[in-house]
């Protein structure tokens, strides 16, 4: 099973095995990773699942759609070049080892 590594704002890393097809957001909630709130449930209406994707992996992700692009602009912590919504990242074998950094605040 592919692994995703969540790095909290204070630097603590947590490695989680994620079934292919599950989103990075859903896997965080399921495994008790703090720092992802997912208030809207993963429909691109809030920005509370914002993550910074490690540069090595950012290029492997399918590009963000318009709805996600718009939401990233209102994120509580400022958008950076590798910002994504974790509800829109579906885990694949190719993403094994994916590193996402969590912002200090989500709302």
């Amino acid at each position: 099973m592919p692994k995703v590594i969540y790095v909290s704002a204070n630097g603590a890393a947590r490695e989680v095995e994620v079934p292919v097809g599950m989103t990075v957001m859903a896997a965080a909630l399921k495994s008790g990773v703090d720092g992802i709130l997912a208030e809207c449930g993963g429909v691109c209406m809030c920005s509370t699942c914002h993550v910074y994707v490690d540069e090595k992996f950012f290029g492997k992700l399918p590009p963000a759609k318009d709805t996600e692009e718009a939401v990233l602009d209102i994120a509580a912590e400022e958008r950076q070049p590798t910002s994504r919504l974790s509800c829109q990242i579906k885990v694949t074998e190719d993403l094994d080892g994916l590193i996402v950094r969590l912002p200090e605040k989500q709302r």
């Binding site: 859903a26 909630l29 399921k30 008790g32 208030e39 809207c40 449930g41 429909v43 691109c44 209406m45 809030c46 318009d66 709805t67 692009e69 718009a70 939401v71 602009d73 209102i74 709302r107």
Partner: protein, 414 residues
């Protein structure tokens, strides 16, 4: 030992209060108690992805069961609170027993308004609010062929879209002259009428249902007051909700269009808060008291009440926003459009990408967007920060909303 906080209601508002209290560093006991037999789950998918089989019971859980244990939240599902004993600062469970509190949060939600016409109690007349009801609708949809949806609001139209997508013959009956009449401008109503019609949904507006008839106790047809008859083996009703005020009423707390709270979401008893679908609250974006039924309102009011209980009291001032998904179209709504005196469009209706900007007394109060997510998100910033924009500016596609959203707000009261 402190009694801590008791939260009544395990919906989105109740869940979020408990989670936010812990995030605020609150260390006292938290009890989250409600009638529903499940751990807290998301309601929005119940009329959408859950019916379509895209989500299941597990995937709609707000958090897995371990979350409550890990955060020392005492979750008690399937238990009804019979009464609040304010003077003793405790609640009494219907099944017996009492829970003391220092702070009590009523996140008791709402229940469906029901039809009161002949035949309304026939088997096959269904409502949607809870997971159980969604499970039943999903099962019945599998066998049903002809479905009549009563009510052309969000829930009715989402159910209609789901049923039609599953290949059923669907008729929607709305009493008022257009769809979603209380919340969107006519141009948006027209867009969704065209969307549903183009997918084969039979949409009837301005029609009153007079009777549901059946055979062997099961629904067979729906009759309108003009005599028209529609065969139906399933009738789905979405005609609004009533706030659950009885518990508060029993404690002699003031009730109006819900449980009355102040701008800190406190009831007349300063230890008791009411939040979410049940709370009649002063909303700065309405300029009036309102009761809102939405995920945003539930989550933000929960956060506000949790902060107050944790000693960081602030006025509730979050911008309302909403969404509905029907077929592949998402309607995004920011602000409250009630009482608007001017509505202007941005985008070309033929392009399926439009926003409607609502003004009242020359102030932008709300935006509805279809396939224009940037309008919605920058619109939220503009409305929330009270940046002054004109109808001419927002109707002009060459005007950059992102730049407008960055402007400093106009002085208060101007």
């Amino acid at each position: 030992m402190p009694a801590g906080t008791v939260i009544v209601g395990t919906g989105q508002a109740g869940f979020q209060t408990a989670a936010s209290l812990r995030a605020e560093g609150y260390l006292e006991p938290i009890t989250l108690i409600g009638e529903e037999p499940h751990i807290p789950y998301q309601r929005p998918p119940l009329s959408k992805g859950f019916l379509m089989g895209k989500q299941d019971t597990e995937s709609i859980e707000l958090r897995p069961g371990a979350f409550y244990h890990d955060h020392q939240i005492n979750l008690i599902a399937g238990r009804r609170i019979a009464a609040i004993e304010c003077a003793e600062r405790r609640v009494r469970l219907a099944a017996g027993g009492r829970l003391p509190y220092d702070a009590l949060v009523l996140a008791v939600g709402a229940r469906n308004r029901t039809l009161s016409i002949p035949g309304a109690d026939l088997d096959g007349v269904l409502y949607l609010r809870s997971l159980e009801e969604s499970i039943v609708i999903k099962e019945r949809l599998a066998e049903a062929k002809e479905i009549v949806v009563i009510g052309g609001g969000f829930i009715g139209l989402e159910l209609a879209a789901a049923a039609r997508s599953l290949g059923k013959a669907v008729t929607v009956i709305e009493a008022l002259p257009r769809l979603m009449p209380r919340v969107v401008a006519p141009v948006i109503s027209d867009f969704f009428r065209e969307l549903h019609t183009s997918r084969g949904v039979n949409v009837l507006c301005g029609c009153a249902v007079s009777e549901i008839s059946g055979a062997d106790g099961r629904v067979r047809e729906v009759r309108l007051s003009d005599g028209a008859v529609f065969p139906a083996d399933l009738v789905l009703v979405g005609i609004g909700v009533l706030p659950n005020v009885e518990l508060a009423q029993g404690a002699r707390l003031p009730i109006a269009n819900g449980i009355v709270v102040d701008d800190h979401l406190r009831t007349a008893d300063e230890r008791i808060y009411a939040i979410g679908d049940c709370a009649d609250h002063p909303n700065p974006f309405a300029g009036a008291r309102v009761r809102l039924e939405s995920v945003q309102n539930a989550a933000d009011q929960a956060q506000c009440a949790a902060a107050a209980i944790a000693g960081r009291s602030e006025c509730y001032s979050a911008l309302p926003w909403f969404w509905t998904d029907q077929f592949e179209i998402k309607l995004q709504m920011a602000g409250l459009s009630g009482g608007y005196d001017n509505a202007v469009m941005r985008g070309d209706p033929g392009s399926q990408k439009i926003s409607v900007f609502y003004f009242k007394d020359d102030r932008l109060i709300a935006i509805d967007s279809i396939n224009r997510p940037a309008d919605h998100m920058f619109g939220r910033k503009i409305i929330a920060s009270r940046v002054r924009v004109t109808p001419e500016q927002v109707a002009d596609e060459s005007v950059d909303l992102k730049a407008l959203a960055r402007q400093s707000p106009s002085p208060r009261g101007s």
